[in-house]
């Protein structure tokens, strides 16, 4: 008999706790998983008590997900190696800047046949420039395969049991089922695709498009223009993935990580909100981050910058006029009102405007 699958959640923030609710419930309900799920919690003192103690006694992460009970089989552990050493599946859900350090601590201390799954949105700057995907960093440091989970999800909504969908990108098909079973819930629908890179890149690129949508809102150009910007953004996302992560599939863009996440981000996300204010207030992005996000960093502008670096290297800037224009607007090389002039002669309209069909 094969051993049961041990699961460890590395991270205990908002999203980590929300996902712990689902993972914990699944681990206790399904026979193939070991019931006890460890959760690495960065130790903090809350009102004179240790956070791990609070979580293990009250089953509530009072700091990051107040008001929601975690399943009792989720056990908070303050030591990273202790939490991870027996795990077959490591769920990474920490801010991305911690990843290299965590991986160094874990290297050689985990099961050699473990797999990782990253729930981390964002990316790192590669040496020299360009995008370095979190899952690639994990694989590089820990020498284990790393899947990703992305989609139109907000931690609080997931925790409250509102319906939403998500996508797992997992290159190795044999892990697909176990990962789906671990994350699937009645209100949290999981689709597994084997296109991990595309899933993760979508999650980053959509923030650039959302900035464009925000500029359109700020300029009050109306719904059709916004829809056009979203569509052209999607086309550039597809093209970008095709150039830099070849072998990806179009169908991945139909998953939650693609169109659904793009649409919500362009109508609801904070990249959109700040970009709108950028146009209407005339303040800089940094000032707005301070005012509107308590100093948290917006993801759209830095993503646009790294993407622009990658495009420049390949001399492809003019094939991606929307991404390029958004980067230039964020860095004040262009005025927001010039956005439309930049996409007026989009390759989507010029090269292929007659009989565009074969391109896909």
């Amino acid at each position: 008999m094969a051993d049961k699958v041990n699961v460890c959640i590395v991270g205990s923030g908002n999203w980590g706790s929300a996902i712990a609710k689902i993972v914990g419930a699944n681990a206790s309900a399904l026979p193939e998983f070991e019931e006890r799920v460890t959760m690495f919690v960065y130790e903090e003192m809350i009102d004179g008590k240790k956070l791990t103690e609070i979580i293990n006694e009250t089953h509530e992460n009072v700091k990051y997900l107040k008001g929601h009970k975690l399943p009792p089989n989720v056990v908070a552990v303050p030591d990273l190696v202790e939490a991870a050493k027996n795990a077959d599946i490591l769920i990474f859900v920490v801010p991305h800047q911690f990843i290299p350090n965590f991986c160094k601590q874990l290297l050689g201390k985990i099961k050699p046949n473990a797999i990782a799954i990253s729930l981390i949105k964002g990316f790192d700057k590669a040496e020299g420039g360009g995008i370095d995907l979190i899952s690639h960093i994990i694989t590089r440091h820990l020498k284990i395969p790393c899947a990703v989970l992305m989609g139109a999800n907000l931690a609080n909504e997931v925790a409250e049991g509102n319906f939403c969908e998500t996508t797992i990108g997992c290159t190795d098909k044999k892990y697909g089922k176990v990962l789906r079973d671990l994350f699937q819930a009645n209100h949290f629908r999981v689709v597994v695709v084997d296109d991990a890179d595309a899933v993760e890149v979508c999650g980053a690129l959509k923030n650039i498009v959302a900035c464009g949508a925000g500029f359109v809102d700020g300029l009050k150009l109306g719904d059709n223009t916004k829809a056009a910007v979203i569509r052209l953004g999607l086309m550039e996302m597809i093209r970008f993935v095709d150039v830099f992560y070849p072998g990806s599939k179009l169908s991945t863009f139909f998953e939650s990580c693609g169109v659904a996440d793009l649409i919500t981000t362009c109508y609801g996300g904070r990249n959109r909100r700040v970009s709108e204010a950028f146009v209407t207030s005339g303040k800089t992005i940094e000032e707005l981050e301070k005012e509107m996000l308590n100093g948290q960093k917006l993801q759209g502008p830095p993503t646009a910058e790294e993407v622009n670096y990658m495009l420049k290297n390949k001399k492809l800037e003019d094939k991606f006029p929307l991404f390029t224009a958004i980067h230039k607007i964020c860095t004040n090389q262009l005025k927001p009102k010039d956005l439309i002039d930049c996409i007026r002669n989009h390759p989507e309209h010029m090269d292929t405007s007659i009989m565009p069909s074969p391109k896909l």
Partner: protein, 389 residues
């Protein structure tokens, strides 16, 4: 669609025959400029008339610069509408403050407008299509080509969806293309950037159609996938209605995104089943994804659905209040689609479309919308094999 041509009995083969056709066409093209007319004078017709008028004037060596616009005659402040348009170049009734080019000539007789035209642009309410076609039958050039800008469809005898372009083709006996994608005329009129998709059924008009509709701010992409272009713009009404329901129930953004995504997939699958041969690329054009997104956030169907949920009134009471003079396409589309699906035994494969229909009928409570999504299986559409990037 096309009648197969009989083989030449003398065995001279296709090549000669085609060459002859080409030559005849070239000659015809040299001799006659392509002339255009617009049938309709509502705000959408008026808006597009400006683009068409400007474009044909700029292409004076191939296009006839004078463009007739058929205007349903009305008396506005004691003057005939056609007269006002022809003297002031403003359609005071439907688009005040919007100046038309001088080469747009309003006429009150539809046959006069269409008689000598090669391209007939239809932009009238769907209910008038049949009667207009009847009036025009036999009076237009046999080589004429129609373009429908009309949103909607008709209900066939057996519950089929009959697309407007099919009605025109059937009744007028000419081929008919469609243009959709941009659904807010006033935004286009204000020169806000927008995109449109032309589904063209006649090869020789690919370029012409793009060139007469486009402008600096209105980008047009032409595809040959006319069925898909038109059916997309119909099916999205169902999804917009579902999105409106979710707004009405105050579900969150991610749930709404889930509804839109599911709807998009069902749209793909519906087209795959009922209009085989359509291309995936078409869904990524303005007629597909952009039109869907716009309608899910800013459309009458969405507003109707929101009111339907919030007031709890039956649909038939709300329609008149919210959408005077327009058919609320969401519920009707859902019904027709349901009939088609039932016939094919595919109801279970389209949980969103089916649930929307049943909610409209009052057979299911609203809460089932999300439940349907929760239970929907994901094997709905497997494009993996076919659509490698």
């Amino acid at each position: 669609m096309n009648e197969p041509k009989p083989m030449n009995p003398h065995g001279s083969g296709w090549a000669n025959e085609l060459a002859a056709v080409d030559e005849a066409y070239l000659h015809y093209k040299m001799a006659d400029k392509i002339s255009t007319c617009i049938i309709g004078s509502g705000n959408w017709a008026t808006t597009i008339a400006r683009n068409v008028g400007r474009n044909v004037a700029a292409m004076a060596n191939t296009m006839e610069p004078k463009v007739y616009m058929y205007v349903y005659e009305e008396i506005v402040e004691g003057r005939k509408l056609t007269e006002i348009i022809n003297t002031t170049h403003i359609n005071v009734k439907y688009m005040p403050d919007f100046v038309l080019p001088e080469n747009i000539v309003a006429v009150d007789d539809i046959v006069t407008a269409a008689r000598d035209s090669d391209i007939l642009i239809f932009a009238i309410p769907p209910t008038f299509v049949s009667s207009c076609c009847k009036t025009l039958l036999g009076k237009v050039k046999p080589t004429a080509h129609a373009v429908s800008l009309i949103k909607g469809f008709e209900r066939g005898d057996d519950g089929q969806i009959i697309l407007i372009s099919q009605i025109i083709m059937r009744q007028l006996k000419v081929s008919c293309s469609v243009m959709v994608g941009c659904n807010l005329a006033h935004e286009l009129a204000n020169d806000n950037f927008a995109e449109g998709t032309v589904g063209c059924r006649d090869q020789k008009y690919y370029r012409v159609l793009r060139d007469i509709f486009k402008s600096e701010t209105f980008r047009v992409v032409v595809t040959e996938d006319a069925d898909c272009v038109e059916i997309c713009s119909t099916l999205r009404n169902i999804i917009a209605f579902a999105a409106g329901c979710s707004d009405g129930m105050e579900l969150n953004e991610n749930t709404k995104a889930g509804i839109i995504r599911r709807g998009f997939l069902e749209m793909l699958q519906f087209v795959d089943v009922f209009y085989p041969g359509c291309r995936m690329g078409t869904f990524f054009e303005a007629c597909g994804i952009s039109d869907l997104v716009t309608s899910c956030y800013a459309n009458r169907n969405r507003k109707l659905a929101e009111a339907f949920v919030k007031t709890g009134k039956p649909l038939c009471e709300l329609e008149h209040i919210l959408i005077s003079g327009h058919e609320p396409l969401g519920p009707v589309t859902a019904e027709l689609v349901h009939i088609l699906l039932k016939k094919k035994g595919l109801v279970d494969k389209f949980p969103l479309f089916t649930t929307v229909y049943k909610i409209c009928m009052g057979d299911l409570p609203l809460t089932r919308l999300v439940e349907a999504l929760c239970q929907a299986s994901e094997d709905i559409f497997h494009p993996q094999h076919t659509f490698q990037l």
